[in-house]
Structures are given as C-alpha cells and as structure tokens.
Symmetry: C2
Subunit: 346 residues, 2 copies
Amino acid sequence: MGRGQMGRNRATLADVAQRAGLSKTAASMVLNGREGTRLSAEAHQRVFAAAEELGYRPNVAARSLRTRKTATIAFVSDIVATTRFAGGLIRGALDAARERDHVLLIAETQGDAAFERYAIEAMLDRQVDGVVYAAMATRRLTVPPAILSGPVVLLNATSPEDLPRVLPDDERAGRTVTTALLDRGHRDRIALIGRNRLKERDPEVSLAAQARLRGIRETLSAAGATLLAEAFCSDWLPEHGYAAMRTLLTKPDRPSAVICMNDRLAFGAYQALGEAGLAVPTDISVVSFDDDPIAAWLRPGLSTAALPHEQMGRRAVEILLDGRATEPVLVPMPLRRRRSVAAPSA
Amino acid sequence: MGRGQMGRNRATLADVAQRAGLSKTAASMVLNGREGTRLSAEAHQRVFAAAEELGYRPNVAARSLRTRKTATIAFVSDIVATTRFAGGLIRGALDAARERDHVLLIAETQGDAAFERYAIEAMLDRQVDGVVYAAMATRRLTVPPAILSGPVVLLNATSPEDLPRVLPDDERAGRTVTTALLDRGHRDRIALIGRNRLKERDPEVSLAAQARLRGIRETLSAAGATLLAEAFCSDWLPEHGYAAMRTLLTKPDRPSAVICMNDRLAFGAYQALGEAGLAVPTDISVVSFDDDPIAAWLRPGLSTAALPHEQMGRRAVEILLDGRATEPVLVPMPLRRRRSVAAPSA
DNA sequence: CCCCGTGGCTAAACTGATTTAGCAGAGCAT
DNA sequence: ATGCTCTGCTAAATCAGTTTAGCCACGGGG
C-alpha cells in the first residue's frame, strides 16, 4: 500500500470536458470563471456538474507551465529550528497563505552561502510566485540577487535594497515597557540588563537591542530620569542574566526595578533574585521583552512586551501577495501584563 | 524592481540544444546522464558547455508534468507553531530532503478536519512525491485516506494502518532515566511527577507518558524497588509540576529523587523546591524527559532524556525517499547529563 | 439577396520538459 | 549489389492545462 504514484488516476480537464459534452476550452473557461466568455448558462451547469462528479482538481504543474504562476511561495530563513521564534513566523505565514490559496515551500540557509544559493535555486526552479526572506534575529542582511527578479518581502530584517519589510516595533516596545514601570511609580532606581555594547551595535547581528534601548532612554528622559545602572551580557542566555543581576545587587544603591532586554535574561535575573532572598515584585519589579513561553511559567509571571511572531509572518505574506505597503511595516509588541511589576517598596 | 515574474528569461532546454547544435532529445539525454544512449563524447561536451554558458536550469513544472515526480515532499503536521518541538522536526526533515535534492512543502492542519482536507488537496494538486505526516505529541491518529495513494511516513505518531513510522524510544528513555538514579544509589525513595491517568491512557492524546512509565517501572522492579509516591498533573505545565511537588513534600516520607515526566513539570518542581528551601541535587535529585531548552537554563542544569527531534525529522524523510524500514523506527533519546542528580543525602 | 454582427462554441498552438519510435549512413558479410 | 547491424542522432508525441484565433449559425438591416 502507498508505494505507488501519489494521486494518480485523477480526472483531467479533458475528462471533464468530455463528460460535459464540451471542449477543453469551454471547460477551462467556465472553471476559471472567465468574464466575457459567451458560454451559455446551460454549458456552465454541465461543466460544474461534470467537475463535481469526477472530483476534478486541476494539475498545478500543468497550469503553471502555461501561466507561470504556482500559487506557491518560498519561505527562506537563516535558521528555522532551535528557536521557537520560527514557529510563530511560519504559522502566521501559513495562515495568510492558506487564506489566499497558496502553499509554502520552506528552506533554511543556516547562514551558509552555499546552502543559500542552493535553496534559492531550488525555489526558482519551482517557479515560486514570491519569496519571504526571514531572519531569526532582527537584523540587517544582504539579499541574494537571484531572488530580486521577483517579489520579495523581508521578514524581521532590513537590507540596503529598498524592499518591503516587516519588523517588530521594538522602539515602541521600549517605551511601553518603561512606561509600565513609570506608571507604577518607579523612576530613579530603574536598572537595565542588556547585551554587550559591541554586538548590540552591529546591525548585522541585531537591530532589536538598539531600538529597544532607544525607546527606553527616550521615555525615561521624557520623565526626567536616567538609568540607575546598566549591566551587560555577552549573550542572551539566562546564565548571563543571572550574573548581571548579581552584579547589580553588589552595588550600594539597589534598583527598585529592572528592565531585561529579553525573557531569557529575565529568567536568569529571577534566579539571582531568588538566591539573594529577594522577592519579585515586592522587592524588585522586573519587565522584559519577547514573551517567550518561559515568561508565563515563571513565578510570578513575567510582564513582557510580546514579539508578535504570528502577526509578522502573516503580514509578510499579505504584503507579498496583496502587494501593498511601500513603507516598512512595524508590528506592535503588546505588553503582556503579569505579576512581576508592583510599586517600589522603599 | 521585483514586481515581475520570478525567474523569467530562463534558458530552456531548447536553447541549450540549439546552442549545442543538437536536438532537444540529445540535450535532455545528456543532461540526465542517461545510460545506453549512443551520443558521442563530443556531443556530451557541447551540451554540458551550452548548459553551463546559459546557466540552464530545468523547469520543474514542465519536467514533473511529464514524469509525475516533483522532487517535493509534503510535511503535514497538526500544529507547527507554539512548540519548539516542530522546529527540530522540520529542520531534520529539511536537511535530509536537501541531501536528496528535494524540497519541503509545509502545511498545518491545526487539528481541524476541514483544514486538513484542504491542506492535503493542496499538496496532491502539486503532485508531491510523498507525505510526512507529523504529530506534535506522540500519539495515535487516523490518516486521511487521500494521502494513502502515495508514500507516507508517520512522524511521532502511529495509526491503525500499518504505515512506516518514526517514534522516539520513550520506553528506553524511561529505563535510562531510572538507571541514572539507581546508579547514584537512589532506590526506595524515588517519586514520580506525571500526568493525570485519564489523559495518559488515551493513545489519541499521548503515547509517550505510558511508554516512559513502562520503562521506569520495569527498571525499578528489576532492581526490586517500587515508586515511593506518584503525583499527577492535569497538564504538562510548570504550574502543575509545582503543585505536584508541593504535594509530594507534604508527605511524611520525603523522596530522595523525583522523576518528572517532562522538563516543564521539572521546572515547576524546581520552583517548589526552591520555595521550600531544598536544594537540587543535594537534598533531592531530579531527572526528566525532553531536553527542552529550559533544562539547560535551570540552576543546576537538569539531567534529562532528550527528544531527538532533528534525528526524527531526518529519519522520516530518509525512509520516505530511500524506502527502507518496514519496522517502526525507534529513535533513541540520549540522556543529557547535567547537575541535577547526586547521591541521596540521608 | 447579401452583408454584418453577435452569440456560442472549438481547433490548435503553446508552455518546457521526457520519451518513444525511427531515420540516415557506415561497415561488414554474403 | 544486397541485406544486416550498429552508431549517432532527431521528429514527434506526450503530460494537462491556458489562450489565441476563428468557425458556424442565426437574425436584422440595407
């Protein structure tokens, strides 16, 4: 069982036409709902009936050979696995594609130029109608020239070429998160746990951190405040957040709140606070970015500005297929309010 | 830029043939490396040279119209997003597919019958060469009849039909994990945090828990021991692991080690232990299953039997395309040894 | 009575590959 | 000279659709 050709024995347009007692031309026109054809109402009925009875479905390969449309789009990313990030992007893209009767061909470059070339060729060989070129970390990248021959949308990335792009609104998220603290009465004792300045400044690595920081500083200075302290990490991992939080706690002036540049760092910060016998949020409030699943699992739940992956994936496909958006699209990062923020204790 | 047809202006086989001064037939045969053709060495050279110069790449739609092979396989799953599980499966599948010059068309049913029908039709319309039908939780499912016409491999699932399948070796993982505790001297004070018996017994929901438990019990009884206590959860979330751990701690006889049915439960258990002032592993050892990223982030790192997602995705595609494996394939779940296991203190 | 327009439909070309059937010429034996 | 085989190659069919060009019948106007 199942070792045969997939979907052989399918009825063809010729079968439908024959059964309807009409030509292939007529059948094709009716089934494609062509305007301006002068086929009778009765002919329409017969074709629809025949197609229905035979369970006719057009062969996409044959159609696209003629029309050069495949109703297929390529989703090319640098890294799909490892990160749950990808899941959301793909899911959103998949939903939007389905709504438009398209399917998704996926490929991963793994940041390797040869793989990338190969993947792009494979996609072009299959005549995809467009490409969503996605990066897993928000960053600047260079688009392989081959795909510039057709529609492209950058997802979570920018590039020197002026292409349509979809990005999370990190700067606004910075403002949102900071405002959440200000509203509860924090002001002059807000500390930051972020990433190493070197990496943070390289747009090929990440644009997110910079944008978030801009939003944070802007909001603070509008309130007449500045950061109490900043601790930097060499990477976005909990262990670094842990170390950074410990460093912050050694200083004489303990912060009333900490903004972490992402949830994994915040998790590390929680661990350090727990060890130090400090409670969130009564001793120190914590806010963060991403809404990694872990944010909901922490005790107390971590308030964080959510990366809207599904929305982003969806928007990218919408723009690709519906072709709006000359401006870069900034997708808002909503604040998930949980229990990690309270009024300062002192 | 970029609003045109993707990859128009491509050289066709006819172009290559013309440039080589030969017929399309000759060009086709040479490029496909057909044996037994009597074309001269010189003809071969000319065709290769012409193809090279023109940057010729065959049009997959045209080819598959004739051959009914698309070098494309469908990856259909119930849920791709949310879970990082999917990422690994897809990545492994993608790698194996690339090695065989195939690409992946992905679709998600979201557990909805209508979506599923739609997705399957869309795949069959595109003449995929085979289908990997994946479930996000290891379980039994019913395969839609439409895809049984061609090659299918079940990934992380079983079904009544006797189809090739790839599953994690949960039972062996149960043995592995238990043995890790026995080796350190735990024996009569091992507790379990698992899931609600009701759900655990329904193979449509999950097969993993049962298999893991079988492995655990088997290993214990071979050592002449039984579980000290069992605590059950209504779902696989940290908060339930937290509650379960608290329950275990209220009992008079405190366990020396706890086996959690997955890492999220273990995370909850860690939280309860931390609050109770108990240290891992000096007061209580913890082992678990899955190797969720969080396992590495916990302090101390959690020893856990890893779900080999990439391996599984890879194997599924290998079986689909290379067509071996009449037996179900059980992929081993290696133990990631971290610091959560020590000798019992008492 | 002839011409023209229009309604209703179809034959055939076309997309770009693979594959089948077979042709032309050379070399050899009869 | 004739027939046969073998070498080296090609014309044409085929896959399943879309699209172009145009046929035929009928009705009305001049």
